[in-house]
Amino acid sequence: MSTDSQNTPHSTSVLEFKSSTFSVPVLVLSNNDLDAIEQQLQKKIQLAPEFFKNSPIVFDVQELNAQKIDIDIAALANVIRKFGLMPIGIRGGNEQQAKSALDLHIPVYSIHNNLSSDAPKQQKNTTQTTEISSATLITQPIRSGQRIYAKGDLIIMAQVSAGAEIMAEGNIHIYNTLRGRALAGVQGNPDARIFCFDLQAELISIAGNYKISEDIKDSTRNKPVQIYLEEHTLFIQDIREH
């Protein structure tokens, strides 16, 4: 699954898409009174004017919508811009709010995977998955035939059996034996890594570059290792030699 790195005679690659995570302040609104918002925003900004200067900001109107309070997105954006903040997104808006945001060239973010909502989350998975920011923690063994998918990092305290499959868009940490398949960076993040205490995997993969059990050298088998990607090649390294 490696890409062709040879350049054609006429074109050299001038761009590349990469995935990165940024930390952006989110303005959570609980009232649609623009005057009140303006006043309180001013107070907050005075506390740390440098921090807020030209800062990107995402506004979250989920709570407003939960209370069925509508807000004029264009007017809100104007208020925010007045303070030198730069709105780069809206979250939790209804269809109409999303549309007016897009008209203003403000991207719309979906709400999932965020803990900003106060509503208690329903825990469906019986393997006791707990969402802590963007990491998924699992304390029960992952048995043969089970599949786990994590949007962020995946941390597993128990063993992963042969015939099980674990996937994460971020890193995978296994503080136990890995006998099944582990796929990190499944959305194409080449910086994702896999860490495990005892490598006996059937298959390991980072961003689509994979190795099967047969390709894993005896020198790294049954050892605590980290697996990372460099130039489309998977490297398995004894974690103690780092």
Binding site: Q123, N125, T126, T127, Q140, P141, I142, R143, S144, G145, Q146, A158, Q159, S161, A162, G163, A164, R179
Partner: protein, 269 residues
Amino acid sequence: MARIIVVTSGKGGVGKTTTSAAIAMGLAKKGHKTAVIDFDVGLRNLDLIMGCERRVVYDFVNVINGEASLNQALIRDKHCDQLYILPASQTRDKDALTQEGVGKVLEDLAKDFQYIVCDSPAGIEKGAHLAMYFADDAFVVTNPEVSSVRDSDRMLGLLSSKSRRAEQNEEPIKEYLLLSRYAPDRVKLGDMLSVDDVQDILSLHLLGVIPESKSVLTASNSGVPVILDEKSDAGQAYADIVARYLGEERPHRFIDEKKGLFGKLFGGK
């Protein structure tokens, strides 16, 4: 409140029915009113192992369909009056079982019994699913060979995700490992996985090791649960398992090679 135990494995021929019969008999002999249900609809075996095949009138499917009452279908055991058997239907298939029907039968049994042992069919399809769905405890019967261990692992995954307790976010099913047909001499030769190997793969609480034993076949063919053969090693192993399940502490036996008479006399190695 009754405790529902499922005896399961994934793989066939590992000793589920033998174990169900022995465990149910063991619990009943200890004075607990116990029912044992054959979930292997279409491949009815439990009644043979329990020696009550000639007394089957109504079966599990009849009760689910409302064609017979539970009391009409339950067969009292010859050896122990605390033990009742609910046989499977031989003329139907697993589709005759419904989740509501099975749930209702178990609910009715729970009013009257302390332990309900569900003898699961092999596989992971409907019959096996319904056998484990309502369970509180699971006895996972495994032979010391790789395919059996793998199938048990798969079944453990289902127990923790597809059972009622899992679906309703209750305390998970308690899982116990029963390693059957164990032959220490073959383990020593490297032909067979050891207890440690199996535990390493499954990481499960070991309730007991049942040695490979001629007495199991003899008991099956004569329709007497092997636990009643108190002289046999397999019978003793099952007695230990029941005692441990009920909270007694007993050291594990049958894991190491048996010493011959001379070995015993002279202290062996």
